[in-house]
Symmetry: C2
Subunit: 150 residues, 2 copies
């Protein structure tokens, strides 16, 4: 519990996108952010399979998954806390050394994911496919620079 | 990808609370639901520390974390899919054998988490503490019956 208080008091936030200090030791932070990334994949995966024609288009799943992805899109970043570059993580040190670049990638992703939720709910399959591509590009853009082996 | 399609077509949903079929093999389902539970803990933990007087009360964190917990509260259940009782999981077989009881526990949790988001945003510390207790009870009620070693 002391660790929690220290984290809050010293304001370990790396990423300005999520302005609230969050308490955790590095291992907890890594597990949490990886959990959210699992949730990204869980929601993203079926939409990708539909876009690729590997799964029948399902409007209800598209609407729900895109909405969830948008809700989740601002959650992982606060967990790239100080010292959580060490441990069982694929995070590159550049997240900590090139913070403003990392933050602009995040902003781009959040924006595209938010748009996807809107577009998906409208039911225009072509627009959905296009916007899905924008989200995928935003993911890849960040992974290329800030994630190992990706 | 074939696995994804089969999952959707055969409708592997265990839990009626989330009515949309979600595609995954058991291992993916376990990783996803555990990821969401990590996210529960990440948001729940600091609120608990505040309620216990281990961390200074922070209205912004309380508002945000309670809102996130409510948004996350309906996400894990669709991943208690067929055959995901086997694998690296603490899920008890009763989740699959006592489905309606499991579903009522989920409903109770979602309801209390939703209330917590409302109460938290209002800024009444005492009401927050009380409602936080209700959410904690809902967690425990489900864990006691449906989670190993808890």
């Amino acid at each position: 519990m002391k660790a929690l208080r220290v984290a809050v008091v010293s304001g370990l936030m790396v990423c300005g996108v999520a302005p609230l200090a969050q308490a955790a030791d590095p291992e907890e932070a890594i597990e949490y952010r990886q959990g959210i990334f699992e949730a990204f994949a869980w929601n993203f995966g079926p939409m990708g399979a539909m876009v690729k024609g590997k799964m029948p288009y399902d409007q209800a799943v598209v609407t729900r998954n895109a909405k969830r992805l948008a809700m989740l899109s601002d959650m992982p970043w606060e967990a790239f806390t100080e010292d959580s570059d060490f441990g069982d993580t694929d995070a590159k040190p550049e997240i900590w050394s090139q913070r403003s670049e990392f933050e602009s990638r995040i902003e781009a992703f959040e924006k595209e994911a938010g748009k996807l939720a809107e577009v998906a709910a409208q039911g225009d399959r072509k627009a959905f496919r296009t916007q899905f591509g924008e989200v995928a590009k935003a993911c890849k853009g960040c992974h290329d620079d800030f994630r190992e082996d990706d």
